[in-house]
Assembly symmetry: C2
Homo-oligomer: 274 residues x 2
């Protein structure tokens, strides 16, 4: 029997830690059939993004068409979509798809490299996010999308409300960069807030002492999509995804001179070499 | 501790069954860190290849440069490289790399779609295959590369010798399409021949009764690269790869109206959903 079908529409990270590479690894790890529509290709490693090539909109449309008309999808995740034209092309096609959609509104990379054309932010806000079952911004992305700047945990609900105004069913605000009140020092906990405007769930996990977190955002979003594809509801999928990602961060490893990747295979690492 | 680093340079299959998608899944399944340089993007599903976009040579060079200068590699696999210019660009850079290289000389897809420009075949023969630690042609690819046509098992050694003439250290001729002598009916066994010109190993496995073999060739080559990255010698890596791929074919599943994928997660399938 075929496993659930989960599609990512995102960019390619040559270093294998983020982008469609992180998504496909996550999907295999969680037991679903991973598929990928490539929107852009980056030359990227542990120290930054060295190059960047967008696919033409017709190539993105054709890949989506090939997957949707023959194989079908049980859940979809979008990541880096590069330009307004690509965001718009993807949104127009996904509007016709009856499956949960996780939108990771990727704006900048861990190294501060810009991964989204500024005009694309507006198109994402107006055309793609309204289609989302869950949108998963971190704090810089909340600011980019809504203008709301968050420093303390007490400000998370207002940030989530501002994102919900854009029209998604649920928002997961990832508070990985919060400070302690009132001292302003980095918080010892990573606090995420999930809400649909009615129900609110606060997810806390200890901040792990590692720099090797490359691919975390992609992995969270694709893990949520995978669990939605497996039939979990949104709160269940988000909690399961957080568990998976926390383990992957804890097992992250150094590769290259900079930020190494999370370990997508951590659950089987011990037994997987033979 | 970081796992071995294994790089694929190949095309993208939107359906997730072949290309870099199959490679990355195989690498995760076998416990290595998978990375990928995208040479071309296909719009593809279970019934064929609907579209095809090459990356410019500078994009392929930049991706390779990002990986090689920072992260490094313990093994490399090449797959679909699309054009003579890309084959030549990749060969020039891999000539400087001191790691095992597996060349899968992808010529045509399972549906008969041409995935390699005819001029690229000659460049692969003269520039890339001489660098290979192992080259892994199937019978149509042996014919395309050497002109030698094989129908029966007894003809495999001559085919392998013709490929070795091109300069790789080892050749694995994949006899998946052999006939029985003298009747001409399909053989009940898949017979592969591995040789370096001195040692010859014949690998037999029962022909499995499934059409869901999409991605088999990519998976064999990337599994060999993964096992070489893990430190096995060539015969050991090829045998271990065949075991992995046989299980993946046996667990292959239907998705779409045509040829479904092999199951890269077969070893953990039972326990991986929770």
């Amino acid at each position: 029997m075929a496993p659930p079908r989960v599609l990512t529409v995102a960019g390619s990270d040559s270093g294998g830690g983020a982008g469609i590479q992180a998504d496909l690894k996550t999907m295999l790890a969680l037991g679903v059939h991973g598929m990928s529509v490539v929107a852009a290709v980056t030359a990227q490693n542990s120290v930054g993004v060295q190059g960047y090539w967008e696919l033409p909109p017709e190539a993105v449309r054709a890949q989506l068409e090939s997957v949707l008309t023959d194989i079908g999808v049980d859940a979809v995740k979008t990541g880096m979509l590069a330009s307004a034209a690509l965001v718009s092309a993807v949104a127009a096609m996904l509007a016709q798809v009856d499956a949960p959609l996780v939108v990771d509104p990727v704006g900048v990379s861990k190294h501060g490299d810009r991964l989204l054309d500024p005009a694309a932010v507006d198109t994402m806000r107006t055309e793609l996010i309204p289609l989302a079952t869950v949108v998963t911004p971190n704090l810089p992305e909340v600011a980019q999308l809504t203008g709301v700047r968050v420093e303390y945990e007490s400000e998370l609900p207002a940030a989530a409300a501002a994102v919900l105004e854009l029209g998604p069913r649920w928002v997961l605000v990832k508070g990985g960069h919060l400070s302690e009140e009132p001292a302003g020092t980095p918080s010892a906990e990573a606090v995420d807030l999930l809400t649909d405007g009615t129900m609110t769930i606060v997810l806390r996990s200890p901040r792990l002492d590692t720099i090797h977190t490359h691919g975390t955002g992609c992995t969270v979003a694709s893990a949520i999509a995978a669990y939605l594809g497996l039939g979990l509801d949104v709160p269940g999928a988000v909690k399961a995804a957080k568990d998976y990602v926390s383990g992957a961060i804890a097992a992250g490893y150094g590769l290259g001179a900079g930020i190494g990747p999370v370990d997508h295979g951590w659950r089987w690492r011990a037994g997987s070499r033979t």
